[in-house]
Amino acid sequence: MTAAFLVAALFVLLFLRVPIAISLGLSAVLTMLLFAEQSLVALAQRFFSALQVYPLLAIPFFILAGALMTTGGVAKRMIAFANALVGHFRGGLAMAALLACALFAAVSGSSPATVVAVGSIMIGGMARSGYSREFAAGLICNAGTLGILIPPSIVMVVYGAVTETSIGDLFIAGVVPGLMLTAMLMVAVALLARRLGLPRQPRADWRTVLRTGRDAIWGLLLIVIILGGIYSGVFTPTEAAAVSAAYAFFIAVFVYRDVGFKEIPKVIAEAAKVTAMLMFIIGNAYLFAFVLTTEQVPQMMSAWITDLGLPPWAFLIVLNLLLLAAGSFMEATSVVLIFAPIMFPIAVALGIDPVHLGIIMTVNMEIGMITPPVGLNLFVTSGISQLPVTKVIRAAMPWLVVLLAALVIVTYVPWVSLVLPRALG
């Protein structure tokens, strides 16, 4: 009853166009006032302590690093490198855009940021080279979701913080699924390219490949620093994120020199804006999850699903359907915050690896980024392509098939997620 009120209140508020963060918080506060014994003091305390969770500090740092790398010319050089590598194939520019998304995803923890970094250069570029704007927007909107699957990843940070799973393991576990999804999208582009007769570009000679590769290496080194640093125990994921931001600042200002000191405050302000928005949602999602927990909802759901005696494969279907539904109505981190505590104990009881569960949730959240009404990538793509959101939605939908296929593989082939973390012990 209480839980029903909580969820109903949330949906009414969302429907009224109250910001997502406030909808989450207000439905939690109202539910507590009406049904629960907990006082408002407990909620205020909970809110404040949610903003002090140390692993979550990785979020502003990764966002800052991403912002510095977008304006600092890292994205531009990755695109040039990707283009030199695959531009000469049929549909080469589309493949280059996709590859650039994958490369940028390896230094960025956010999907919308990846779309902005690659899309703001490539959508126009593709349109000038004979692709339709819709095709370019649809592809990059989807390929940008790699941002949270290929490490680093904000969604994995949140999952790790809530379930106390190693964030380093989650990052490493995202590598193979990320490469797999990149390859799958690449095949889809190649097939389409033949059918649509997409243009190719002149083949870049090996000197160009080498030169662009050397230019891009500064950015790509970052992923080595992040994963190497976390895995060798040199620093925590939060520290790795801060080091990334400092490193990104260093290459932007001193190596590439694409931004001057004067522009840095503007970049930081932009990162601050995005972080504040995300963290406001996360703080309130903590309140929402807190009320669920005091109402014993996770325990009841666990008991209920365990009583159903579902085999693991059936549970995974239920899990994916729930996450896909939630992901289209909610922002990714808040879905993870609310659902991870509910699903985690059940999954563990069924023998599903916590890291595997984290990757399943991440892929679901990728799909959530491109499904309306709340698909951040859709809005961001619409903003940079100057296409209306409805057109972006239509352009993005066909690619969903590839993402769903990847979801099925990631869900039912745990090996894909677990091979690397296991190999590395």
């Binding site: 969302l14 166009r17 801060a242 601050a272 928005m277």
Partner: protein, 168 residues
């Protein structure tokens, strides 16, 4: 608030808010990196660093709530309003604003009680030489600022006629 002085004060507040956000984010980043460097290069570190970072983070997010309103960062679900006429949209905007203000009021109340309780306890933070009520005291203020920003942002939708008058 259309007097020149009021305008100027608002502008100053805007700039102060943005400056705080930039400084806080930079401070957290630099402090965390310095901590790593100190640990590996000099085998030392500040005890207070971790707590200073997490409290800065909390302040950053709390002030960021209203900053997000001004910079239109907060996301909403748009299911129906795009299909409503201007009248319907205005009704929705009023109801949404009322809900958001109710949230602010409840959070101001709850966090004031929370801060008050810490004031009565009088304990200091673990590593920082500051009383906890000072460190958390920003919370009710931040929710009050959020309420002000929400009203400010909603004005053009709520009173479409006044927009022109304000601009002059």
């Amino acid at each position: 608030m259309s007097s020149p002085l009021g305008q100027r004060l608002l502008k100053a507040a805007d700039r102060l808010e943005e400056a705080f956000m930039i400084v806080a984010l930079t401070f957290m980043t630099v402090l965390t990196v310095v901590q790593v460097v100190l640990r590996y290069v000099f085998q030392t570190g500040f005890v207070w660093s971790l707590e200073a970072t997490t409290y800065t983070f909390a302040w950053f997010v709390l002030i960021g709530m209203s900053y997000g309103v001004r910079t239109e960062a907060h996301i909403t679900v748009d299911l129906v309003t795009s299909r409503l006429g201007p009248r319907g949209a205005r009704v929705f905007a009023w109801v949404a604003l009322a809900c958001a203000l109710a949230y602010c009021a409840l959070m101001i109340y709850g966090s004031s009680l929370f801060v008050d309780r810490l004031l009565a306890l009088g304990t200091n933070a673990r590593d920082l030489p500051l009383p906890r009520w000072v460190l958390t005291g920003v919370m009710p203020i931040a929710f009050a600022l959020l309420a002000l920003r929400l009203i400010q942002a909603a004005r053009p939708v709520l009173f479409p006629g006044r927009k022109a008058a304000d601009a002059q």
